[in-house]
């Protein structure tokens, strides 16, 4: 597989921007809960969409360590490489 943190991060941002409530100027360093005002359920539901796109499952315990968009991208890439 050739996904990189950059490409996955770009994909996540693209998905986030599909939601009109998300600020337009987000980047990989944005904190998903603090900067985007997602509650814990919204984060879990959003991650599900990313999972579908990337054909990977992110275990919930991993989510606990994820703060930024880049953290999520790194986690997805790690899981893809492992699998």
């Amino acid at each position: 597989m050739s996904e990189t943190v950059e490409s996955v991060s770009a994909l996540i941002i693209q998905k986030l921007l599909a939601n009109p409530k998300v600020p337009r100027d987000i980047d990989g360093n944005c904190k998903i809960m603090d900067d985007l005002a997602f509650d814990s359920l919204a984060v879990m539901n959003f991650v599900m969409e990313v999972e579908d796109c990337m054909d990977v499952s992110v275990p919930l315990d991993k989510l606990a360590d994820i703060r930024t968009i880049n953290d999520l991208a790194t986690c997805v890439v790690d899981l893809k490489n492992k699998g």
Binding site: L41, A42, M44, M48, S57, D61, G83
Partner: protein, 402 residues
């Protein structure tokens, strides 16, 4: 220095806004006295109860009341000990064998609450290299159990057997056992699990299946065993978890299973081992309520008839109520303000239901959770529908034609 309590600032301001909008704190409604299974005294007024989990009305069962009185007189009011130490009396064993027999299973464990039953079973069954595969809309006790477990936890889309299948397929080749966890009837929405499809996925993938029948026990299936019985797939369910606090009207939780290893779960299960067992009067009342339930299958027919009546009424007056008929009927509203006004108006006018606000709701819209009982009369249901129409008008929550 940081205040220990600053983490509550958010909830404090939400609660403040909620009370300002409606005048009441929806989390501290007091039922001053239950007058019957269906009517309670709230703010000094007789109020119709449409927001309990007392589906069969058995919290007021004369047989259960008498059994509790006799047990208290004979055994005292408490056990002061845990199930594995000094807290197992013969009554506990008796209840375990009655509940196992009722389900036609080999063995049962009785816990002090249903919350602890999920916490205990899920955290104990799923070990370090195992996977827990949870429905996304699972109850807090299921999520908490999975946090207590060292297993990897994966959510699948609510009631979506294809998504479950896809996620299990992704785990092909990984070592470790897979345990699927679903509920029978979902407590907030009344959605019923497509359990036959889930069971088929379980068979195909070699996973284990745990079904929490908290809201479906006593409600669905010929004997009231829940959705698995109703769908004819009991044999595929490895573990049934449930509670006495809903259709049986008492308190306590259980797990039944045919796996002989349940005996060892008892000795590894912290929420079972490190808490006091149920008091004798609760055990006795639960056994009596179970007899009521077994002897009166017509209660289930009545319950479903009542659910259909309320459901039809809600749709007739134009409310956005659940699609499926089930004893839990959710009325979804578009705005939080509407939901708060409507809930308060309902209580002013004499109907108690549950107000549920996002993020505690599945789709970020607020809902009014209504539950039906076998003991509601047709007149009570019709009265509730009338009051709903009035409250919805007052909250501007009806399409203008209605």
């Amino acid at each position: 220095m940081t205040s220990l309590f600053s983490k509550f600032d958010g909830i404090a301001s939400s609660l403040g806004a909620l009370m300002e909008a409606g005048g009441r704190n929806p989390f501290s409604v007091v039922i001053e006295k239950p007058l019957s299974s269906t009517v309670g005294l709230i703010e000094g007024r007789e109020t119709l109860l449409f927001g309990t989990n007392n589906y069969l009305g058995l919290s007021q069962s004369p047989r259960a009341i008498k059994a509790a009185q006799d047990a208290v007189a004979a055994c005292g009011v408490g056990t002061t000990g845990s199930r594995i130490a000094n807290g197992t009396q013969s009554l506990h064993r008796q209840l375990e064998s009655r509940i196992a027999n009722y389900f036609g299973r080999r063995d049962a464990m009785v816990f002090s609450t249903g919350y602890q039953a999920n916490l205990g079973m899920i955290s104990t069954l799923a070990g370090k290299d195992d996977y827990l595969i949870l429905d996304a809309d699972s109850h807090a006790s299921i999520y908490d159990g999975s946090r207590l477990s060292p297993a990897q936890v994966i959510r699948f889309r609510h009631n979506d057997a294809d998504d479950l299948h896809k996620r299990l397929k992704r785990l092909d080749g990984t070592p470790g056992a897979k345990l699927i966890v679903v509920e029978g009837i979902y407590s907030m929405t009344g959605n019923v699990a497509p359990i036959a499809e889930m069971a088929a996925v379980k068979r195909e993938t070699g996973a284990y299946l745990l079904v929490d029948e908290a809201h479906s026990f006593g409600v669905m299936g010929e004997k009231g065993l829940g959705v698995a019985e109703a769908a004819g797939v009991e044999a595929d369910v490895d573990f049934v978890v449930g509670t006495f606090s809903k259709s049986l009207g008492t308190v306590g939780g259980y797990c039944v299973s045919d796996h002989p290893e349940l005996e060892f779960v008892r000795l590894n299960c912290r929420p079972y081992m490190f808490t006091a067992s149920l008091p004798p009067e609760v055990i006795a009342a639960t056994m009596a309520a179970l007899e009521d339930m077994a002897e009166h299958p017509e209660l289930r027919t009545q319950l479903m008839d009542n659910a259909a009546r309320l459901h039809a009424g809600f749709h007739r007056i134009g409310l956005n109520a659940s699609k499926q008929v089930s004893p839990v009927i959710a009325v979804t509203l578009e705005e939080i303000g509407q939901a708060i006004t409507m809930w308060n108006r309902l209580l002013d006018l004499g109907v108690y239901v549950n107000l549920s606000l996002p993020p505690a709701t599945p789709d970020s819209r607020p809902l009014l959770r209504c539950s039906v009982m076998a003991t509601h009369t047709a007149a009570q249901i019709d009265k509730a529908i009338e009051i709903f129409q009035q409250a919805a008008r007052d909250a501007n929550a009806l399409p203008s034609a209605a």
